[in-house]
Amino acid sequence: MKTFRRLTYPYIAWILAMIVIPMILIVMYAFTQQGNEVATLHFTFDNFMQFFTDMDFLRTLWLSLRIALMTTVLCILIGYPIAYMIAMSSSKRRNLYILLITLPMWINMLVRTYAWIGILSDNGLINSLLSAIGLQPQKLLYTDFAVVLGMVYNFIPFMILQIESSLAKMDKSLLDAANDLGADRWQRFVKVTLPLSLPGVISGITLVFLPAVSSFVIPKLLGGGGYMLIGNVIENQFITVGEWNFGSAISMIMAVIIMISMYVTKKLDKSDDALSRKRGSVR
């Protein structure tokens, strides 16, 4: 058996080079100033200070979190009923629905987002329709609305698929049992279905919130050049401004925020699990 262990050595070397060292580089850049020479290491907190003492950067961070949160909530509110309907379908239909949901995910995200520009722009499809029925055209593109819409559009399939798979895995006889014990439809949903589907919701949240908070493509395409989320600030620092140290510091801040929120969600999941198990055993 031990012979197989050797199979991991190349990959261990690989992750050292391609994952660990690059991550260390970010940390190093974040704690040093200017000049990209590693030789003159000089530790400093300036990059972090610059970020945390500036209201504008903090506001951008807050906006990113708000937009990501809004996206996540919308994805749950829309995604859950859809997932439920799919999971309750016959298996043949279920496969078809799932295929239909996965298919767009295979198409380039940029391309799909680009398509919305034509629909939302000032003279775009929606506004043409609005003015055709005699309504005032609305400013849609380059607004919060457009950005959230773009994010929901791109990320909701993850939510639906996660919830759906946890619902599909559910033991249907539990529902019958609840029924036999006199629970009505609503009670069956709240007491049986919902708790059992929570792991799916939670992994859906991570799959939506994480890309939403760090995205810089959707805000730039649908929010316009003046729309800055935290991802755009990072992109801007690295690509245009050339301040890699400051950019690395912001990247680190974002990574830490995300790790904390992941940790909290996971904890939530576990405690919920434990709770329901405990409750189950008491009853």
Partner: protein, 632 residues
């Protein structure tokens, strides 16, 4: 039950409409006869034709597919082997490796991208195909491992032992016993890897370079202008993916049917089908590769110039593609053409160690590059066309003798306004301050350039745009911030061109060349250069010190400066040519830009200035501009 069923139908119908409507919309408009993305004016295949003729698009498809295929193959093999190894490893090693393995999945993509970029830069690796491929492999393997591991967990350990007891080598045991049992995990891992690589934008964007683009990064650079070829490209992708997915979904069905009927031949048939499919992909890739540009007489060029490729880094939408094609045909070389959309972006790339043969920065940036000794002198005897430079671009302060630079385009910055909505005398009265007139709230575009935005603010306040006075700069910052906070402007780059042609808004700060193009497409638009003065800018071709092919670079500069090529370029984008004769032809009697008030730059007005480079001011402006943008 019936009611519930119909509700379900409506909901599912709505969500699928939501998913597919944009895709359908794109599909339909790829067949549009006009450039518009909003009104359908008849069926045409012109965008497909344009796409297939565009070597950049063909190359992007090629690179996307080849990267996805290689990354999938390597990551599937490595991921599977590692997963097998891990399942037999001690728990502590297994946990640690899986922990690190999770990093690229849990980390925001942009952080992974940035970390890889820093890694490549510190190794001084030149960004291009290899760096992109390595990055793709790096983020694909974790997904393969994650999808193979669960299958291994449910595997009976003793089977491999038994095989080895019966005389199988470990390799045989793995191949014949373990792998077949975890096949579903491997296949789904490979599928995830392929999608991740095929779709990737963020990571590729940070780690690619040297003209190597995948579909995503290409769409990103093109997305600023309305370009229905993107729709045509997308339609092709949709088609490819639908076919692939059908194959993936139908193959197992075929297999199942074959097994049910217990036909031994069918398995072979299945093999034949998949081989055919692989051949088809291979042939397609080969065709794309050949369709992509290739030097015709590379050997000759290498003998003459020492290389058969020339790397040009220019502004986006700045050249008629035919010019590079003509150069390639005449010199038998391949032009790698990369674009940027700000001087700062170009500088950052250059500083990151990227090497180019010809760059086209603006005045102040050339001054900076000269100060920091980034440029090499031109070989003037190879550039006889220098004699045809227009009067307005002779003896420019940053390089009066043209020792290092040859002007390409020049112009001013001004305000494009909708003549039906904004009166000229109002503009004359208010100048740049019209951008703070509440009447036009939400009706204006600012250009996303730190330099020119500060130019506008400084001029509006009556200061010099080259001021080094910090209080004046802070005043300009407050001026801009107020515009952003009270006027609801949209800060755009090249999107402004199509937006103003469509008449989306009434006012826009625009470069004169783009203005000339807007005016020629929409006669309601006018161009105004405020009396407070403006930025008299010029972009010039220079050769960096680390150019790999300076000889050819000099030839290229001469070629681009020639009458025919200058004419093509100036006609294509609307910017004022540096070639005097071209200026005369185009602005003269019956020229294409006759009577176009934006085409010919204003010369000799004493409040107009040329940007100078000052490191401290540059840093201050760039920080302040970031803050203006996020103030919204």
């Amino acid at each position: 039950m019936n009611r519930f069923f119909s509700l379900r139908k409506i909901c599912l119908g709505a969500i699928f409409l939501f998913f597919y409507f944009p895709i359908l919309y794109m599909l339909v408009f790829s067949f549009n006869d006009s450039r518009s993305l909003t009104s359908f004016e008849g069926f045409s295949l012109q965008w497909y034709q344009k796409m297939f003729q565009d070597p950049n698009m063909m190359e992007a498809i090629y690179y996307t597919l080849i990267t996805a295929v290689i990354a999938t193959l390597i990551s599937t093999v490595v991921g599977t082997l590692t997963a097998i190894g891990l399942s037999k490893s001690r728990k502590i090693i297994k946990d640690m490796v899986l922990q690190v393995n999770n990093l690229p999945i849990m980390n925001p993509e942009i952080v992974t991208a940035v970390s890889l970029m820093l890694f490549y830069v510190s190794l001084r690796l030149e960004k291009g195909f290899m760096t992109m491929l390595l990055a793709h492999i790096a983020f694909c393997i974790p997904y393969v491992i994650l999808s193979v591991m669960p299958k291994l967990r449910s595997l009976d350990d003793h089977l491999a032992d038994a095989a080895m007891d019966l005389g199988a080598t470990p390799f045989q045991a793995m191949l014949k016993v373990i792998v077949p049992q975890i096949m579903p995990g491997i296949v789904s891992g490979a599928l995830i890897a392929f999608t991740m690589s095929f779709d990737d934008f963020t990571i590729s964007y940070f780690v690619t370079g040297n003209g190597v683009k995948n579909i995503s990064t290409l769409v990103w650079t093109m997305s600023k202008r309305i370009n229905p070829s993107i729709n045509a490209l997308s339609t092709i992708i949709v088609l490819m993916i639908t076919i692939t997915l059908l194959m993936v979904n139908i193959l197992p069905l075929l297999k199942e049917r074959a097994q049910r009927k217990n036909h031994p031949i069918s398995n072979r048939a299945l093999g034949i089908v998949s081989i055919c499919f692989a051949l088809l992909i291979g042939a397609g890739l080969l065709g794309l590769k050949n369709g992509a540009k290739k030097p015709m007489n590379a050997k000759e060029a290498i003998a003459k110039y020492g290389s058969d490729t020339l790397k040009v880094y220019n502004w986006g939408q700045y050249m008629d593609p035919q010019v590079n094609q003509a150069f390639e045909a005449q010199y038998g070389v391949k032009v790698i053409y990369d674009t940027f959309d700000s001087n700062e972006l170009m500088y950052t790339k250059l500083q990151g160690g990227e090497s180019y043969d010809v760059l086209v920065p603006s005045d102040y940036m050339i001054e900076r590059l000269l100060n920091e000794e980034f440029l090499q002198p031109l070989e003037k005897d190879r550039i006889p066309n220098l004699s045809s430079l227009a009067e307005g671009v002779k003896g420019l302060s940053y390089d009066p003798q043209n020792l290092y630079s040859v002007p390409f385009y020049w112009g001013t910055v001004g305000i494009v306004y909708n003549k039906k909505a904004v009166a000229l005398d109002e503009l004359q009265k208010e100048g740049y301050n019209i951008l703070r007139n509440q009447k036009y709230r939400g009706r204006l575009y600012l250009y996303d350039s730190e330099r020119d935005s500060f130019m506008v603010a400084l001029k509006a306040l009556g200061f010099s745009m080259n001021t080094e006075n910090e209080t004046e700069l802070m005043e300009a910052y407050e001026w801009l911030k107020e515009v952003v906070l009270t006027m609801d402007p949209e800060i755009v780059t090249d999107e402004v061109i199509d937006a103003m042609i469509n008449g989306n808004k009434d006012l826009a700060v625009v470069y004169s060349g783009d203005a000339a193009y807007i005016l020629s497409e929409n006669e309601d638009m006018g161009y105004y250069m405020p009396n407070e003065g403006t930025n008299l800018w010029s972009d010039a071709m220079v050769i960096p010190k680390n150019a790999k092919n300076p000889l050819l670079a000099n030839e290229y500069i001469n070629f681009v400066l020639s009458y025919e090529m200058s004419l093509k370029n100036s006609l294509f984008v609307g910017y004022a040519s540096s070639n005097g004769e071209v200026l005369e032809t185009l602005s003269g009697y019956e020229g294409d830009y006759e009577g176009n008030e934006a085409y010919l730059p204003r010369v000799g007005y004493d409040k107009d200035e040329i940007f100078r480079y000052n490191e401290h001011v540059k840093k201050m402006i760039s920080d302040l501009w970031t803050k203006v943008k996020i103030a919204k």
